[in-house]
């Protein structure tokens, strides 16, 4: 074995202080310090987020928008304040373009139902890529079943890079009504050239939805620079609580779309004969929303901005490079997804050991990873494997934790090759 590479790029922020922000990271698992490397599934929450949520419930919680009393006014200000924070984070033109949903999946379903049912007809086509999460496949399949449209899938190379020529060919059919693609693949780590892909779609007059579930905590997203029509993500992947998603949509499109769900808060005037819908964004937020958790998302964005996405990305890239080099030293370990442009997750297989066995053994070493198909079964089929193991990194992960992962993988080999 050659000399182990060193973590080349020391973090440009105080990693110990960042870790101290996460109460959950202090625990031991099976007697070992917790090494949490399942961040692509969901990241842990800093104290600022936990405090913002409990502060809402213990300090000023009430239903929003209609109350005349003080608590309702305070809750409304905090909830709408979080919307402004999301707008600024995405550099959207207006808070009317920020819709709160339950998660990325619901954001995509909203577009598939509201925009899709309005625009897509029999014989039309929807273009996606071969590396989509199930949440950016199934809503379009359902739309195709309802309308008689067809789903077209742009393939990718063995390295996990989208084949842009094939994507272009699919766009050029003259029947495509929407292109929907993932920004950062949860199964491969590939960062897609979403700006270029959006331009290519626009050249054919095709609107674009970007699934930003994985990309949002790793790199700065500017929806106006991207120029995509829709961008979807979840709060729980960006240090916020579970149960809140965001759909960004260009105002003109959102205004033309029919409501997704009917109910309270999304109306202007209701009679039994006719209902006038509320203006954006309320038109798409029927019923009492997840008030405290939206406020929690706002706190997560404040916390993240204080560190800075550029610093986070630099740290995570250093971890990715270090971990990739270390894992490549392990005989029989194969990394799936070796795109040139990649974010901080590594999917791999280990010869002779099923990923679930890897997951169980690592768990006993205190290390949490994901093992399975990662809700991207077509990607597994593409490589002919039933499952992979996946280690994914966040701002609080350290080089020592990569070392712990590597040591534990050697133990897996020792156990299975005895």
């Amino acid at each position: 074995m050659s000399a182990l590479p060193v973590l080349s790029n020391p973090p440009i922020f105080d990693l110990a202080r960042i870790r101290a922000d996460f109460p959950i990271l202090r625990q031991r698992v099976h007697g070992k310090p917790l090494v949490y490397l399942d961040n692509a599934a969901s990241v842990q929450k800093p104290k600022a987020v936990i405090d913002a949520i409990s502060g809402c419930y213990s300090g000023y919680y009430a239903n929003i928008h209609r109350g005349v009393h003080l608590l309702s006014e305070r809750s409304t200000v905090a909830y709408e304040g979080a919307r402004e924070k999301v707008r600024a984070f995405l550099n959207a033109a207006s808070t009317q373009e920020i819709i709160f949903t339950r998660n990325t999946t619901e954001s995509i379903n909203l577009v598939a139902s509201s925009f899709g049912d309005q625009v897509v007809k029999a014989g039309d086509e929807i273009v996606i890529t071969g590396m989509e999460h199930h949440s950016n496949i199934v809503p379009w399949q359902l739309l195709c079943e309802r309308t008689g449209a067809k789903l077209k899938v742009a393939p990718f190379t063995d390295a996990g890079e989208l084949i842009l020529e094939d994507y272009e060919q699919l766009l050029a059919s003259g029947r495509v009504k929407l292109a929907a693609f993932v920004h950062l693949s949860n199964a491969l780590g590939t960062l897609n050239p979403v700006r270029q892909m959006t331009e290519m779609a626009h050249a054919h007059g095709i609107p674009v939805l970007v699934d930003g579930a994985q990309s949002i905590p790793h790199l700065a997203v500017d929806v106006r620079a991207l120029d995509c029509e829709f961008y979807a993500f979840s709060a729980h992947k960006i240090y916020g609580p579970s149960g809140v998603g965001v759909l960004y949509g260009k105002k003109a499109l959102l205004e033309a779309m029919p409501p997704y769900q009917g109910g309270g808060d999304m109306i202007r005037r209701v009679t039994f004969e006719k209902t006038d819908y509320a203006d954006l964004p309320n038109k798409f937020e029927a019923g009492t929303p997840n008030i405290a958790d939206v406020i929690g998302l706002g706190a997560a964005l404040d916390w993240l901005n204080a560190i800075g996405l550029d610093a986070i990305a630099a740290h995570e890239h250093a971890l990715l490079a270090y971990a990739t080099a270390q894992l490549n030293e392990i005989p029989g370990l194969k990394i799936m997804g070796t795109a040139r442009d990649k974010a901080a997750l590594i999917a791999f297989t280990l010869q002779g050991v099923h990923p679930h066995d890897i997951g169980t053994i690592l768990d006993r070493e205190g290390i949490a990873i994901r093992a399975g198909h990662h809700c991207a079964q077509p990607v597994m089929q593409r490589y002919g494997v039933p499952a992979t193991a996946r280690a994914s990194f966040a701002v609080y992960n350290t080089g020592d934790e990569v070392d712990a992962l590597v040591r534990a993988l050697w133990k897996v080999k020792e156990l299975f090759e005895a």
């Binding site: 050991v353 099923h354 990923p355 679930h356 169980t360 053994i361 006993r364 156990l415 005895a418």
Partner: protein, 147 residues
């Protein structure tokens, strides 16, 4: 590492590497597929049953060490047994992998899977092959699912 050895015992690692009865039966009297949607593991089970006795049993598929070894050990345990004993054996096996019960002597080598009881997320791996056998006997056309 010692507690991991309780789960990954030598017999299990051996059956994972060299699964017994890992083949197809050309014209089985009974057949079923089992799927664990959690991990995408698939297993197919063939049985040759004559006069109420399991004359031959074989399996194929890709799975983790626990599911592969459990399927392999199951085929060894069931070959030659009357069909009427399957439910009783499965029940006893299920108890062993899910509760703190003493392992009944009648289970023989299947007892090596008792370590699974400390890993609740892996119980479905250990029982997948058994569910497939039950489905084969019920002549279910749809793959049986552990969920």
């Amino acid at each position: 590492m010692s507690d991991l050895r309780d789960l990954y015992q030598e017999v299990i690692l051996d059956h994972n590497k060299r699964p017994r009865n890992f083949r197809i039966i050309p014209q089985p009297t009974h057949h079923a597929d089992g799927v664990n949607p959690l991990c995408g593991d698939r297993i197919s089970v063939d049985l040759d049953i004559e006069d109420g006795v399991i004359r031959d049993i074989a399996f194929q598929g890709a799975g983790c060490a626990i599911s592969s070894a459990s399927a392999s050990l199951m085929t060894e345990a069931l070959k030659g047994k009357p069909v009427g004993e399957i439910d009783h054996l499965f029940e006893a096996f299920h108890n062993v992998v899910t509760t703190d019960c003493e392992c009944p002597k009648g289970l023989g080598k299947l007892g090596v899977l008792a370590g699974v009881r400390d890993y609740p997320s892996r119980v479905k791996c250990a029982t997948l092959a058994w569910h497939a056998v039950r489905a084969a006997l019920d002549a279910r056309a749809e793959p049986v699912v552990t969920e």
